[in-house]
């Protein structure tokens, strides 16, 4: 029940508990965990081997890596720690810091050290880090007080990894609490962190609100992304040093769990890679066969697949869809991990987008393929000089590739060129500071087709044939629906021709205009595969019935044979094999 029960100070706990029982949400109030002097030698050794590179010689968060990281490494000097179980503004418990070092901070460069350092080393390095706090002191038991919060316990008893099964009623109530407390002002209308572009942290560095729909990036997720406790803790304690205050007076404990239920319900359930703390990429993007033409509107049920892995959530198509489309498979929404292009030319160390979601269908009747590209981006550009862009990269000469061979994944190479379909767009009537707009923003889109023979040899194709048939920017999410015919007329050998039922390499690129990304300064994925799946032939149902009947016939033959053998034994036509202990 008490998450932070500290057995080293039982008396203090008892006293504090007696005083605070029933009147406050604090379960433990006392001085901070003082520095364990005997640990400092090992702590210093560990710090200077492992931590100094980012956190700096004096713990100022100014190590060699710091300037290229967003978010920056923690500056320890002020004693400001985000993930705590103590009240806002207070120092953290030692156990909080130990958990942070052990689990790392997902979504940042801080890795989990639990598998690398021994427990002894982690405790030591945490104590050494405490000595790097200059403006306050963990040893100042007179002036420093810590109040460990009572978070209550999960009222629905849900369990990891996915924490499914929270009642819808609690989620709906959580949404009301979300609206009442104006969480959307920073976190955006649907929680994608697209509310406020002007925020700064205590040190004046820009900072953005958490994207609730990517909960695996929650810093305090403790490698348990879907646990609502993570949200309860943050609502209860705030994040020191950031604009996130605590809401413990506005939202009572019962409601904190409800808002956590709401926040959590937004996060798509995907298989999380335990090493990377991110969803596992769906490396095969299947383009689903569609009878007749494909809908050209993003809002059409054809395109409204949930983000969550339907195998995890057990999501089912609604009856209306099934009635209209029968057994036609829904395409999966594929997760595509993105990274900054940090290989060639002008490198991008802090991409604003770290994943895309791709859904695809194709139509034999139309002889065309569709790719719906979606991604979260908190704020868009409205500067015509710096358009937002997203692109799909193909090998231009698919037919010439041998085996696993592909062009170089960054704009191809001189021998193997690539063909890129790029949508360049700006939102209409949009300002990053606008209040959440449930209608979304229409986009002015133009398509550019490129040929690349290396990142320094990219040419724009004339007369693009690729179309963007629908697009929108809504509540922090861009959606672009690409369409192209499978084959093009008068192809000049630098235009991809897409064959059905073949594995085709495909990669993705994204440029945030607002952050002045262009050319090779972008976010990029590695090569994925896509395949235009064939229609399921009716013959497989027929064959299944035929095989069943054949087997039934075989069974009949077996019975007849066995009965005949028995009868022959009984009639004495043949002799039963004699057993060794039977007299002959």
């Amino acid at each position: 029940m008490f998450r932070k029960f500290n057995f080293r100070k039982p008396l203090g706990v008892l006293l504090a508990f007696a005083v605070t029982l029933g009147m406050s949400a604090t379960v433990y109030a006392a001085g901070p965990d003082t520095v364990k002097k005997d640990k400092l030698e090992l702590g210093k050794k560990t710090y200077f081997r492992r931590c100094v590179w980012c956190h700096g010689v004096e713990g100022g968060g100014d190590g060699p890596s710091a300037d290229r990281l967003f978010t920056r490494p923690r500056n320890f000097n002020q004693g400001t720690f985000k993930i705590r179980t103590t009240d806002s503004g207070e120092l953290p418990m030692e156990a909080d810091l130990i958990k942070t070092v052990t689990n790392g901070l997902p979504g940042s460069a801080m890795p989990s050290w639990g598998n690398v350092l021994s427990n002894e080393e982690i405790v030591s390095v945490v104590n050494f880090v405490k000595t790097l706090v200059q403006d306050r002191s963990f040893d100042d038991v007179e002036d420093e007080e810590v109040n460990v919060q009572d978070f209550g316990s999960n009222p629905w008893g849900t369990t990891g990894p996915y924490h499914l099964g929270v009642p819808q009623e609690a989620i709906d109530q959580g949404k009301e609490i979300f609206i009442k407390n104006k969480c959307f002002e920073c976190h955006g209308g649907e929680g994608r962190g697209d509310g406020n572009p002007t925020m700064k942290d205590d040190w004046g560095f820009p900072i953005v609100a958490a994207d609730w729909q990517q909960c695996w990036n929650f810093r305090g997720s403790r490698r348990n992304a879907y646990d609502p406790f993570n949200v309860v803790r943050t609502v209860n304690t705030g994040l020191n040093g950031t604009p996130m205050p605590n809401f413990k007076d506005q939202i009572n404990q019962e409601d904190r769990w409800k808002i956590a239920a709401f926040v959590n319900s937004l996060c798509p359930r995907k298989n999380i890679d335990p090493l990377a703390n991110k969803p596992v990429s769906d490396f095969l993007i299947s383009s689903e066969f569609t009878a007749g033409p494909v809908a050209k509107s993003i809002d059409d049920p054809m395109w409204t697949v949930p983000d969550s892995d339907t195998k995890i959530t057990g999501w089912q198509d609604d009856e209306a869809y099934k009635e209209e489309w029968g057994a036609v498979n829904r395409p999966r929404k594929n997760y595509v991990a993105m990274a900054g292009q940090i290989t060639r030319g002008k490198r991008n160390f802090d991409p604003k987008v770290d994943n895309l979601w791709i859904t695809s269908r194709w139509s034999e009747e139309e002889n065309a393929v569709y790719y719906l590209v979606e991604y979260h981006l908190r704020f868009l550009s409205n500067d015509p000089e710096w358009k937002e862009m997203v692109g799909i990269q193909w090998p231009a000469q698919l037919q010439d590739l041998f085996g696993a061979e592909k062009p170089y994944f960054i704009y191809g190479d001189s021998k193997k060129p690539v063909h890129i379909w790029r949508a360049d767009f700006l939102p209409q009537n949009y300002k990053p500071t606008n209040a959440p707009n449930p209608e979304g923003y229409k986009l002015d889109v133009s398509v550019t087709e490129l040929n690349g023979k290396g990142f320094d040899d990219v040419t724009v194709r004339e007369n693009p044939v690729v179309e963007v048939v629908d697009s929108i920017y809504k509540q922090g999410r861009v959606k672009i629906l690409f369409r192209r015919s499978l084959t093009t007329e008068n192809a000049d050998n630098l235009e991809v021709q897409i064959p059905p039922q073949k594995f085709i390499p495909v990669a993705f690129m994204q440029w945030s205009g607002r952050d002045h990304e262009k050319d090779e300064h972008m976010a990029i994925s590695t090569w994925f595969y896509t395949i235009l799946k064939p229609q399921i032939p009716n013959s497989i149902y027929v064959n299944a019935v035929i095989m069943g009947c054949v087997f039934a016939g075989f069974q009949g033959w077996l019975v007849w044979m066995t009965r005949r053998t028995r009868k022959m034994y009984d009639d004495g036509v043949v002799l039963r094999d004699r057993l060794p202990d039977q007299p002959s």
């Binding site: 050794k45 460069a109 801080m110 890795p111 991990a337 490198r347 994944f409 090569w527 057993l579």
Partner: protein, 324 residues
């Protein structure tokens, strides 16, 4: 009471209790001489036998065979550690099935006893069982056919050579280096003497630690995005790329390579790989485009210092060029 039914209850109950209660107890984090999964399995099998002996139950031969087969299945599925890939699992289970059949057919009596219920089901002595089996089987076969024919698409498997053969020479920043015998110019002392030194703090006191500090700083400005803060190939961008970035802590990477090989790999990056190493999807930059020659050597020096590995050397070649 039916002996076979009794035996079934004993068998299921024993396995249930053992698997749910005792298995977690016998598989602690620190594996001991007694507290391990194999001892657990042995005790479980002996318990099943012992219970049958003291309760004097001798179930039908077919069920005995089934028990033997299931215990083997349980062993390969849950006990054997680390778990075997499914292809190997199938192979093991085929061998185990043959073994079970040998047990069944050890002499004509047991074999006849084993066949008895099967034959009686087929001819209809057990009417109820016959109806169930003979109705279900065709449906199962039909469903299996449907499953087998339903087209599924898995992404193609791609193999690559992780450490390709290096070329004889490489040209970096206009200078040609012969990789054979090429030394790290900053390896001026025995690395083991500096394992307890502090980067930054000792950089002024020792030339060697200065190089390590420089190399580390460069590493954390450029390389950690992929190769990770822990040099274990788990940087914040690592999961995006395929092939995944090299894990320097692993004994299979820098620990078994010469520094000259690293120099070539770092300088030329992904585009400098031969075709069998899939140069098209390697995100490794040709670092000669971003770093100076000296910087590359210092980063290599740092990687060995941090991981504690020593670069591989061959006879007649020393990894240390001690300066007087």
């Amino acid at each position: 009471m039916n002996k076979t039914l009794l035996s079934l209850i004993v068998f299921v109950a024993t396995l249930g209790v053992f698997h749910n209660v005792l298995f977690p107890i016998f598989t602690p984090k620190e594996v001991g001489m007694v507290m391990n999964r194999y001892v657990y399995y042995l005790i479980m099998v002996l318990t099943v036998i012992f219970l049958h002996l003291i309760m004097k139950i001798k179930p039908a031969m077919a069920f005995r065979g089934l028990m033997v087969w299931l215990l083997g299945f349980y062993f390969y599925k849950f006990i054997l550690f680390p778990p075997v890939p499914w292809t190997l699992f199938i192979t093991y289970m085929m061998l185990w099935s043959i073994g079970t059949f040998l047990y069944i057919s050890q002499d004509p009596i047991t074999f006849r006893e084993f066949r008895e219920p099967i034959v009686r089901t087929i001819v209809g002595d057990y009417k109820f069982a016959q109806i169930i089996v003979f109705t279900l089987m065709p449906f199962l076969v039909g469903f299996g056919t449907y499953k087998a024919l339903y087209p599924t698409f898995e992404e193609p498997v791609e193999l690559r050579t992780v450490h390709p053969a290096p070329p004889a020479t490489t040209k970096v920043h206009g200078k040609t280096y012969a990789l054979e015998g090429l030394q790290n110019p900053f390896r001026i002392a025995e690395q083991d003497d500096y394992q307890d030194s502090f980067p930054f703090l000792d950089a002024d006191k020792s030339e060697y630690m200065k190089h390590v500090t420089d190399g580390g700083s460069l590493f954390f400005e450029n390389c950690h995005y992929c190769h990770g803060d822990q040099l274990n190939g788990l940087g914040m961008f690592s999961h995006v790329f395929n092939p995944t970035p090299a894990n320097f802590v692993d004994p299979g990477t820098i620990a078994m390579l010469r520094e000259s090989f690293l120099f070539w790999r770092v300088s030329k990056g992904g585009p400098g790989l031969p075709n069998e190493s899939t140069p098209w999807s390697s995100a490794m930059p040709p670092w000669e485009e971003h770093l100076k020659t000296d910087e590359i050597w210092k980063i290599i020096l740092f990687e060995y210092w941090y991981t504690g590995w020593h670069p591989r050397t061959f006879d007649g070649e020393s990894s240390i060029t001690l300066s007087e």
